[in-house]
């Protein structure tokens, strides 16, 4: 980790606050993510984890503070939002593949529309990433013809086709049947091993132990605790973290 000292962080959040009407969803969020770093965000439901990562690519706006992604200050300007979105890939809990397009078209649409890639280039890129998530043989099918685990791997490939600098995962395995969780986690582990910067909202603590550089615990819109996984799991500092881990690990 020492090599990254002094380098500007890829993502920098400073005093970020967000409200939905009178409800405060995020309170004083300070978070820096270095290039190549893997962060796991966890916490009880409604703690603001998803809201936090959705602020990073401006699917949600924020009212106070500052977010800088790869040198771009994220404001409400279309130009800043475009610049940030083209560097940030996102994978959703419910996959959100486009059901009326084939797997290949799902992967080529954004590169062709946003990056203005020609079809041949976009398809070559798409086939490369579909091969990487081991689903190339399904390229001409429609999303509904694939299993949940396959769909989520396609969603990862679709995001990778934009060649993002960072990937956000919003509970990527929560909607999957148990036997499909592993294939998606394996894909994410592979991505981590290749050096991708990742922020994952997940309750998969095995994954957190295996790949996270830091585990961050949130509750009620605040970051309560952050630590390397060994420390986080063996010696949690806060009462709320201990309670949460007790509940999460009970079933394991």
């Amino acid at each position: 980790m020492s090599h990254a000292q002094g380098e500007a962080p890829l993502i920098h959040m400073e005093g970020v606050e967000k409200w939905y009407g009178a409800f405060q969803a995020l309170t004083n969020i300070n978070l820096s993510v270095r290039r190549g770093e893997k962060i796991v965000l966890c916490g009880p439901s409604g703690s603001g984890k998803s809201t936090l990562i959705r602020c990073i690519n401006h699917l949600e706006g924020y009212q106070k503070g500052r977010i800088v992604v790869d040198g771009t200050v994220l404001s409400n300007s279309m130009k800043a939002i475009d610049a940030v979105r083209s560097e940030v890939g996102m994978v959703f809990q419910s996959f959100n593949l486009f059901p009326h397009l084939t797997i290949l078209q799902n992967c080529t649409l954004a590169p062709m529309r946003v990056r203005k890639a020609d079809r041949a280039t976009a398809e070559a890129t798409a086939r490369r990433y579909l091969d990487r998530v081991r689903i190339l043989d399904q390229a001409d099918k429609y999303p509904a013809q694939l299993s949940g685990g396959q769909q989520q791997r396609v969603a990862i490939a679709r995001a990778l086709c934009m060649e993002p600098k960072v990937m956000l995962f919003d509970e990527p395995t929560s909607a999957l049947d148990p036997e499909m969780v592993k294939e998606v986690l394996d894909t994410m582990v592979g991505l981590a091993a290749d050096g991708m910067t990742m922020i994952c909202v997940t309750h998969e603590m095995g994954f957190a132990r295996q790949v996270a550089d830091r585990v961050i615990f949130m509750a009620k819109g605040e970051i309560i605790e952050e630590a390397a996984p060994e420390t986080f799991f063996s010696a949690p500092q806060h009462q709320r973290t201990r309670e949460f881990l007790g509940q999460i690990l009970q079933g394991h």
Binding site: L59, M90, F92, N96, H100, R113, V114, Y142, A159, M162
Partner: protein
């Protein structure tokens, strides 16, 4: 005087059919284009635009088409707009159809899961690209049965153009019937022609539905 229902009478009905088809085509084309704008306005990110379109829909859904045709035909003329009759009537039908189609498509746009728009946004697609490539293709599939249903209504609704002097299919039937005193026969033929126009549309719609369902099953 009564000479029965012959080729001349049938040709007269077909002349009327010509207007029915023309008015339907113009109303559907105009209603399609402006209805899309109404639907987009009704789902726009700006509250003022949404309210304006809601008002438009309320007025044109809440008043009789017959009255709207009167206003388009006589009202525009009173305002000094000297338009050919068929243009005035086409405007009337277009305004009406765009309110109904706009509301049908508004509902369909809102029925496309929110995550679709979010995923497209996260990939960097702009509003226009998200609508064209992601939201509208799915919305039109959702809206297809209602859209075809409205088109069938519209074809039959063109008979109201008779009120401002168009001899379309229904009015032609009335004229023939008055001449040969065989209302059951004549209106039977008129009804059959309408049916031959509308039924294939419903069949086509059902077939398209089945096709889409198979593709995205």
């Amino acid at each position: 005087m009564s000479k029965g229902f012959g080729a001349a009478e049938f040709l007269f009905l077909l002349e009327g059919l010509k207007w029915t088809l023309l008015l339907s085509a113009v109303a559907f084309a105009g209603g399609g284009v402006f209805g899309l704008l109404v639907a987009l306005g009704r789902t726009a990110p700006y509250a003022a635009v949404r309210r304006a379109m809601a008002g438009y829909i309320a007025v044109f859904q809440g008043t009789p088409l017959l009255m709207q045709l009167f206003v388009a035909y006589y009202g525009l003329a009173l305002l000094g707009l000297k338009l050919p009759a068929w243009v005035a009537v086409a405007i009337g039908f277009t305004l009406n159809a765009s309110a109904f189609l706009g509301d049908i498509w508004r509902g369909a746009i809102e029925a496309v899961p929110r995550g679709q728009d979010e995923a497209a946004s996260a990939l960097g697609l702009h509003y226009g690209q998200r609508m064209r490539d992601i939201v509208l293709p799915q919305a039109f599939r959702i809206a297809q049965p209602a859209t075809v249903g409205y088109l069938v209504q519209l074809i039959k609704g063109t008979s109201l153009a008779a009120i401002v002097g168009f001899i379309e299919l229904a009015r032609a039937g009335q004229i023939v019937s008055n001449q040969i005193f065989e209302p059951i026969l004549v209106f039977g033929v008129v009804g059959a022609i309408y049916f031959c126009l509308c039924w294939p549309l419903s069949l086509l719609s059902a077939r398209l539905e089945a096709k889409f369902a198979a593709a995205t099953r």
